[in-house]
């Protein structure tokens, strides 16, 4: 690939072997830089640096007319870079190493880019790299950035195909490229809407190790994190189809943590395979159901979030024994699902081993906590009373809610928190509470997920950000089943450090959330943020989230819901063919508008006559043509004469006695 092609002088002339125009190469290299930048930010530093150096060097080659490197040098550079890539990733398989290799290949191709053909291949590779970029990021801004890069690449392609390209015409090329992209949009939309979507990948997707998620995790380590930064990234958005629930019910259930070693809390999935089991008794729902649709941002896990507790669950998910919704495959794309949840429920009896798991505590750790709990249980209190006692502890003792708790480095972090530091956030309270309950022989578990959300009046939906990640507890009570208890909510507001955190349990309406503390500027900023989020929401709904279900929904609306994939493809092809043919016909029959209504009118007149065989030669003057037409159509002589008279008067004479409108009317009425 990187060797010079042997050129046979005897072969026939080939257009694409010619030298590309200089200005085209400059455009191309500029556009390529824009293509590669997002990749460079992801790649290891040395790779980005070498790519950047190669492109800069290639630009210098263009300006200073340096020679391109010899075949040997190219071979050495190529092998070297490929080897180092392998060393870095240990594989060429997978998205990250694949895209790294592609980026490097593109840069290397520049070293031997000589003919128009080479440059065009580079443009195509550039397009491909843009497509690869979308696999990493599909956000609206990035999308716009990359589509403007597509425009730049297309402009480069146009210039490369105009050998006499001159620098003064760049605006023309840019206009041409953008008009072509605009003209392509209708066709693109047809394909985008109708092309049948398959749910599920064609081949198994390599695991995406590199991407980490912010916010929720499937385990927590008490006391290790000393600072939580509330990421404003959106976790999911919810559109309520029925009246939204009150703020106290806005608990979005995520992974449930059972197992603890005293410090670390984690799910049980690995040990007990519990998630494949179903609860012993069906949940008894009561009260009003809440209908809503969640649009979930990809987070590479199988978790789907739902309000407690979901009843009608989507096809793509199943409900685990701990009532967590799980998807069949990891959520790698924006996913939409509709659920009905009931805030009032009774889970009823549980499997004994479930209760067993809910009582697990490591021996010899956190002795003070266990002592406190056993003290309560010895008072022969009812479980509900023990729960209240624990909550009262948090409420009445000087426990503080803070986002920057001190590190708990001792062997017994729960003890340290409960009796020494007394400063922590939701994880601390949830873990301590569950530990207390278990020590008091009440089955309990930590539930993680999100709490609350902010309402976006612009799009009439709820935004749940990563900063809303939360941990709370569930205890199992006789006759009631699993009951949610949020120990963090027991902390009175005066002991909550930041203002925002005091508001989180109160309401979901942001205007009120900001309350009288808001200024005009913050109001405006909030407004802006809401609008921007609404745009993002629509983007997710209609662009990124346009998958098989969304397609079906749309086709149903259009009355095409019953079409099979084959029928859709046939319909797509027919529509495309029809669009292209009609454009072609339009181009064939169009009367080229001259911008002058009089000339256009006369051309229409000539076309009408030409339709019956009286063709006007381009060099034929109006009077000569008039004579010809009158001779051929003596019965229309008067009308033809009048039209010609009007035309001559309007086009050639200085007098303004005749009206253009009248002339056009005459022409339109004229029927040969």
């Amino acid at each position: 690939m990187y060797f010079r092609r042997k050129k046979n002088k005897e072969t026939k002339y080939r257009d694409d072997q010619a030298e590309p125009p200089h200005s085209g190469i400059i455009w191309l290299l500029g556009a390529l830089l824009l293509v590669i930048i997002p990749h460079l930010l992801r790649l290891p530093l040395w790779m980005s640096a070498s790519c950047f150096i190669i492109i800069t060097w290639r630009i210098l080659v263009e300006y200073k007319h340096w020679p391109l490197p010899s075949a040997f040098v190219k071979l050495v550079i190529t092998l070297g870079l490929v080897a180092i890539t392998y060393y870095q990733f240990h594989t060429f398989n997978g998205l990250a190493p694949g895209s790294a290799l592609l980026t490097i290949m593109l840069c290397l191709k520049l070293l031997e880019m000589k003919t128009i053909r080479d440059t065009m291949v580079v443009v195509f590779l550039g397009y491909f790299l843009i497509a690869v970029s979308f696999l990493f990021d599909q956000s609206i801004l990035f999308g716009f950035y990359l589509f403007s890069v597509v425009l730049a690449l297309t402009t480069a392609l146009v210039i490369l195909n105009h050998p006499q390209a001159s620098t003064s015409h760049h605006k023309y090329y840019l206009n041409l490229a953008s008009s072509m992209l605009l003209q392509a949009i209708p066709l693109m939309l047809i394909m985008f809407v109708l092309f049948p979507r398959i749910s599920g990948p064609l081949w198994s997707l390599p695991k995406n190790k590199t991407s980490a998620i912010i916010g929720l995790n499937d385990q927590m380590n008490i006391g290790e994190i000393t600072q939580i930064a509330g990421s404003e990234e959106v976790a999911f958005r919810v559109k309520f189809n029925s009246p939204p629930p009150s703020a106290k019910d806005l608990y979005w259930r995520g992974p449930v943590l059972w197992y603890t070693n005293g410090r670390r809390w984690q799910g049980v999935h690995d040990q007990f395979q519990l998630h494949n089991l179903t609860p012993k008794e069906p949940i008894a729902f009561s009260g009003e159901g809440i209908d809503y649709t969640v649009t979930l941002q990809p987070h590479q896990k199988k978790w789907l979030f739902a309000l407690d507790l979901p009843k009608d669950i989507p096809d793509i998910a199943k409900l685990g024994i701990d009532y967590q919704l799980l998807a069949e495959t990891p959520v790698t794309n924006v996913t939409r699902y509709s659920i009905t949840s009931y805030p009032q429920y009774t889970t009823g009896d549980a499997w004994p081993f479930v209760l067993q798991a809910g009582l697990q505590l490591p021996d010899h750790r956190n002795p003070k906590t266990r002592a406190l709990a056993s003290q309560w249980s010895q008072q022969s209190l009812k479980p509900q009373q023990i729960v209240n006692k624990a909550l009262a502890l948090f409420r009445e003792q000087p426990y503080f809610y803070t986002r920057t708790p001190p590190a708990l480095s001792s062997h017994d972090p729960i003890d340290e928190f409960l009796f020494t530091s007394r400063r922590g956030f939701c994880e601390h309270y949830a873990a301590s509470f569950v530990t207390l309950m278990r020590a008091a022989s009440i089955p309990a578990r930590v539930v993680t997920g999100y709490q609350g959300g902010e309402f976006n009046p612009m799009g009439d939906y709820l935004i749940v950000r990563q900063s809303r990640a939360h941990a709370w507890a569930e205890v199992w009570l006789e006759h009631q089943g699993w009951v949610r208890v949020d120990p963090t909510a027991a902390i009175p507001n005066e002991r909550v450090e930041s203002f925002v955190d005091t508001q989180r349990f109160l309401t979901i309406i942001p205007e009120q959330l900001m309350g009288n503390h808001s200024t005009w500027v913050t109001q405006q900023l909030l407004q802006l943020r809401n609008s921007w989020d609404a745009v993002n929401h629509e983007w997710n709904q209609w662009v990124i989230g346009y998958g098989s279900d969304r397609q079906l929904q749309l086709l149903d609306k259009l009355g095409l819901g019953k079409l099979t994939a084959q029928q859709l493809i046939i319909m797509m092809i027919v529509l495309i063919a029809a669009l292209i043919t009609s454009t072609l016909i339009y181009l064939l029959v169009q009367r080229k508008s001259t911008g002058d209504p009089v000339s256009d009118g006369y051309n229409l007149f000539c076309n009408k006559l030409s339709g019956i065989g009286i063709t006007r030669q381009p060099w034929q003057g109006p009077q000569d043509y008039n004579e010809l037409a009158c001779r051929q159509l003596p019965h229309l002589k008067q009308k033809i004469n009048t039209i010609t008279q009007y035309y001559i008067a309007l086009r050639y004479s200085p007098t303004k006695r005749y009206q253009t409108e009248k002339f056009i009317q005459l022409v339109k009425r004229f029927k040969p």
């Binding site: 394909m191 985008f192 092309f195 990948p201 292209i580 181009l587 064939l588």
Partner: protein, 313 residues
Amino acid sequence: MSSSSYLRRFFHTTPSETGPIKLTQKRIYILPTRNGVILSIVLFAMLMGAINYNNSLTYILTFLLISVAFVSMLHTWRNLYGLYLDIGKCTPVHVGSLIEVPVSISNKGSQTRLALNIAWPNKEPIQFDLKPNELQWVKLTLPTDHRGYQTLGKLTIYSQFPLGLFHAWSRLQFKQDCLVYAFPAKNGQLPSKNSQQDGSANSGMTGSDDFVGLRNYNSGDSLRHINWKALAKEQGLFTKQFSGNQSDELVLSWNQTGSTDTEQCISQLTRWVIEAEQAGLRYGLHLPGQRLPTKQGRSHRHQCLSALALYRK
């Protein structure tokens, strides 16, 4: 137009035409280029990726590029559509040199047409752009290998602009023959007057040096006949004309060449005609079955040379 004639045109068996020819939809063919095929492979790979990752933006990009390719097909096609082509008269040349064929291409629309190519098949093309309502003359060269009329091959006009993904072309056969003079022999020595066996053409002319008049000086006129007096008076350069100026008369004939080979004879005579004209002589040409009277001037030269070029053709 019936389908059979359409097919015939496709296989380039149409009879030659006279210009101007308008490029209509029936004359323009369009096929993807090699680069177009490469792009389609790239696009297929992108589509596979989009399906596999169910990535909407990759879908959009893939479909957008497919659509742009379709749109560029129409643009490429329209780049040629509606052009008028015509062919000018070509100036005769001698065998071995390149003949120049002027071709006019006129853009009568309001659309700019860039990167048009015109060429004989498989030869290096001439590239040009046309502004709205512009007419351009392009001179195509053609090697010559025999005397007489040279028929022009099929002219190809094509374009791949704007994206180089499609190749639109049209082949035109103009009804035009270009005259090619015979190759002039190396020996430029004119035959001496004594060797003129065929004196009949001369006999009518008396040897009197009658002054007939003056005429404007033409390059090649003998210096002896310049009106020096007039020049000295700064009246300009004039040539004196005499009737029956025998010393400057020459009749070139077949026999003088001393060769039996027809082509060699023609070649030698061609050379003599050029030399005689250059020396400012009045000369005639006698070929078997054809006699050209004694005259002078460019058009006479052309008559003689074309008679030689077309001899027994």
